[in-house]
Amino acid sequence: MDRETSRRAFLMGAAAGLGLGAVITVVPVHATPKEMEDAVRKVVGSARVTKGRVTLELPPLSENGNTVPLTVSIESPMTPADHVRAIHVFTELNPQPDVVSFRFGPRAGHARVSTRIRLANTQTVTAGGELSDGSCWAASAAVVVTLAACLEDA
């Protein structure tokens, strides 16, 4: 059991002991950097992740966190012998760390994708790439996210 879960278990136990079990509920509002690390590990397995080779293009200040344009790419000849197999994108402070996984083959031409993502807070976005030779690379970029000035009533 990792630290976060054991801490939760302790709190719940203590709360139950005090008869407050129904009152205290620990609901995670966002993932933690550790959970993002776990998500990355789940995807790349035991391969060593080296910083570099991945280019992550994000606006430093987003106009709206609901739609943040993102382009991720890895320079590669994209031949059957040497190509990018996949690129994965993660965030550290969204409710869950996974954003998207892209899978390529030698027919892709460029290992480059643009999309639009949601960012719940100002945070760092990480992109990891898996190459056909089994190596894994990663890069990060920080984005500032502000709330809209006037929020609607429902």
């Binding site: 344009p69 709330l147 000035a149 006037c150």
Partner: protein, 257 residues
């Protein structure tokens, strides 16, 4: 010739009242105040989410509705020809009602009156789709709403609503949109409030929405009670805003933060 004289006469009479408006040369659309990524989203029809609603609108234009079993196309033909420039002239004066109606209301008047179909609810997917489809036919057309002399008292009412201070923050639209445009409010630029792109895809809504939705959102934002959809005050405000933007090109469906 007579119409031109009428328009010229009206312009001379109205000129002092229009003096407070931003001069045509200084008018900037919200497009100019957005970042490059959002502008790119608007520019590309295959990347602009608003176009998804336009597709729906085209399908609705051609489908039969109501007890009369007619489609818009049955009377109006190809919208690309018949609806060109229409959105640039709205809100327009309706002779029967004796007051201005906006595009959404015109669509519903047609549905009820000619198709014998139920009116579409405000902000419903179908009404947004039809309005988007119509507005897109006017892309590039210069706004000419409010020229009709019959609309003068309603434009004046709209201006009054734009200027009046209201709500808990005691702000009037003019305080931000006439006096402080291009400054920033919580990370976003304050625009001049020209409705050149409606209905538009607002990133905050993650959906297409109408000008009335935006107005209600702003009015709630200054902590005032927003008028209901379809209220005469909102139509008058729309009319004033469109006449204040006269000469600027329609860019619907726009994308905004």
């Amino acid at each position: 010739m007579k119409r031109a004289l009428l328009v010229a006469a009206w312009l001379i009479i109205a000129a002092p009242a229009l003096a407070a408006e931003i001069p045509l040369g200084e008018r900037k659309s919200g497009y100019d105040l957005m970042g490059p990524d959002t502008r790119a989203m608007q520019d590309d029809d295959t990347a602009n989410p608003g176009m998804l609603w336009v597709l729906d609108g085209e399908a609705l234009w051609n489908s039969k509705a109501g007890a009369a079993g007619t489609a818009c196309a049955d009377c109006h033909g190809d919208a690309r020809a018949s609806m060109k420039g229409v959105a640039a002239r709205y809100p327009a004066f309706d002779a029967t009602l004796g007051r201005p109606v906006n595009l959404e209301q015109r669509i519903n008047l047609c549905r009820v009156g000619h198709q014998q179909a139920a009116p579409l609810p405000y902000e419903s997917r179908d009404l947004l789709a039809l309005t988007a489809y119509l507005a897109e036919q006017s892309r590039g057309a210069a706004i000419e709403a409010g020229i009709d002399p019959q609309l003068e008292p309603f434009v004046a009412k709209g201006r009054e609503l734009f200027m009046q201070r209201q709500g808990q923050l005691n702000l009037g639209c003019a305080n931000c949109h006439d006096d402080n445009w291009d400054k920033r409010l919580a990370g976003s630029a304050i625009t001049q409030a020209h409705p050149t792109g409606y209905p538009l895809y607002r990133l905050e809504w993650q959906s297409l929405g109408s000008l009335q939705r935006r107005l209600r959102s702003c009015i709630s934002g200054i902590r005032a009670q927003a008028y209901d959809y379809g209220a005469p005050e909102l139509v008058e405000l729309e009319l004033y805003l469109m006449s204040r933007a006269r000469g600027m090109p329609i860019e619907a469906p726009a994308v905004r933060p």
